[in-house]
């Protein structure tokens, strides 16, 4: 074990492998955070087309389009979407993007948008219909009643699930090396294959992800508690 540790230290410290790991960590976080932010925007738009009453043909069409979108991005694996966009779609369109991280952020955003839309829809549906009706009866317009009464309560409900989605995104970044991104996993694999010595690098890799996810979990708990301040219920400790 001692010599294995020595090999790892040599690659990690002496030859500067930690710099690749830090770059990989940075890529992993950028992709997950960027993906979630884009996902929230897309998800919000899609959820809106889903909950708005379908009186006009326009809303109906939008709802149908978002069905196809959600169907595709939930129905295919992330790695397939990455491969399709990077090796098929972009070259076919003649677009050349220097940074594969940008491509990864966009694909992660599109993918997460599909999931977040469902999270948001269920959040809005979880608020009692009577709340909206009461608002409308008091003379508020539909958008105002939605924005001021339903959405604030919905957000409180979706925070834990949204946090879950964020954790999934962080771990899912490990497949981005298929499109030339050097993420956390790829960085440690480089170190491991320098001597074909896998034990310590892979244990360290797992520890890195674990620490990231624990930090995110603490953050989510914190946000949840803030949202529950005005609530009589006590958020999970």
């Amino acid at each position: 074990m001692a010599d294995k540790w020595q090999l790892f230290v040599e690659q990690f410290v002496t030859y500067g492998g930690y710099r690749t790991v830090l770059d990989g960590l940075y890529a992993t976080i950028i992709i997950a955070v960027g993906g979630l932010l884009i996902g929230i925007v897309i998800g919000m738009l899609i959820a809106m087309t889903k909950v708005v009453p379908k009186y006009s043909a326009f809303v109906k069409t939008l709802s149908r389009i978002s069905d196809v979108y959600v169907g595709f991005f939930r129905g295919t694996p992330m790695v397939v979407q990455l491969l399709l966009v990077y090796y098929v779609l972009l070259p076919a369109m003649g677009v050349r993007i220097d940074s594969a991280v940008v491509v990864a952020v966009i694909v992660f955003g599109l993918n997460s948008g599909a999931y977040v839309s469902e999270i948001m829809r269920s959040g809005i549906n979880s608020v009692d219909q009577g709340q909206l009706e009461a608002g409308r009866a008091l003379g508020l317009s539909y958008p105002t009643a939605m924005l001021r009464i339903v959405i604030p309560q919905a957000i409180k409900n979706i925070i834990p699930t949204l946090g879950n989605e964020f954790i999934v995104l962080v771990k899912e970044t490990s497949v981005t090396s298929f499109i030339t991104v050097v993420d956390l996993t790829k960085a440690f694999r480089g170190i491991a294959s320098a001597n074909y010595e896998y034990i310590i690098p892979y244990l360290m890799l797992a520890a890195f992800y674990l620490v990231i996810v624990i930090i995110i979990t603490i953050l989510i708990r914190f946000i949840e508690r803030r949202f529950a301040k005005s609530d009589r219920r006590v958020a999970s400790k």
Partner: protein, 282 residues
């Protein structure tokens, strides 16, 4: 509600039964397992492939790994019987992982070349010129000989940042293939890396290295600014669909079999036929 409960119990019982059957079938898989790196000619050899001019082994199930080191490790762990790989890489992997050695009998003859973007014939001509020069002045042979020497301390090359506004040579590789390319901390080392560095220097370009899955190396050329592939690539017909190959820079490569130390199955073999006959009879 009671009825629903009963149905659920039956469904669960059936699912468990089916699952158990599958698990049992998987355990009882008697075919010999041989490992190779995903997308490499070693795997093509085992599975049979028009490029290798070989129909493969019907009695062997080939298992693919992300790197040959993982395959050798899995063999040491007892999950597969043998590993097939390119001779130089196989030798390095067997030595690094330990407890394994190669049977040095060529199962194929292969040439390594540089895969160049089809849309850049001028680059191909330039690369061939540099390669010819390196062969003439002996520097190519020297690089290859250096990596045979255990005391050689290679000079690492940084990955660099891709920027289409600069005059760059963007290289696709899979740095899990020592001695041709591997990581040394944050830097890249290896025969291919040194050749690429020399080419970039001679052409007055900045070298950018993109490290990716071996599967992606050939397909990525010509897309998103990647100019060449150098990853111990054997010249094959199917790869010529995606890239144009330069002149060969290494023609001493062949597939060999890696066995665990103490495994005497192939000890009596002297020719390719001997090895193949044993493989067929496993």
């Amino acid at each position: 509600m009671k009825k629903f409960g009963k149905i659920m119990v039956i469904v669960l019982a059936l699912a468990t039964l089916v699952g158990a059957c599958f698990a049992f079938a998987a355990c009882n898989d008697n075919s010999v397992k041989i490992g190779a790196q995903q997308g490499t000619t070693g795997l093509f050899y085992l599975q049979g492939n028009a490029d290798m001019n070989f129909s493969g082994y019907s009695n062997i199930s080939a298992k693919s790994y992300d790197s040959i080191g993982q395959a050798v490790q899995d063999m040491i762990n007892g999950n597969i019987s043998y590993v097939v790989g390119d001779v130089e890489v196989a030798k390095a992997a067997a030595a690094d992982v330990g407890g394994a050695h190669i049977i040095d009998i060529p199962l194929s003859t292969e040439q390594y070349a540089i895969g160049v973007d089809k849309a850049q014939p001028e680059l191909l001509a330039d690369i061939n010129e540099v390669l010819a020069e390196m062969k003439a002045d002996g520097s190519l042979a020297e690089i290859i000989a250096n990596y045979d020497n255990e005391d050689y301390e290679p000079v690492g090359v940084p990955a660099g940042v891709q920027d289409s506004s600069k005059n760059q040579l963007v290289l696709a590789t899979n740095a899990e293939f020592a001695p041709f390319e591997s990581k040394q901390g944050e830097l890249f080392v290896g025969i291919d890396i040194e050749i690429a560095k020399r080419i970039a220097d001679e052409l007055g370009m900045e070298l950018v290295i993109k490290d990716m899955e071996f599967d992606s190396v050939v397909t990525s050329v010509g897309k998103n600014g990647i100019d060449i592939a150098l990853a111990g690539l054997t010249v094959t017909e199917s790869r010529k669909v995606s890239v144009t190959f330069s002149d060969s820079y290494y023609d001493g490569s062949y597939q060999v079999i890696i066995v665990k130390d103490g495994d005497t199955t192939f000890d009596g073999c002297t020719t390719k036929e001997d090895v193949e006959n044993i493989l067929k009879s496993l």
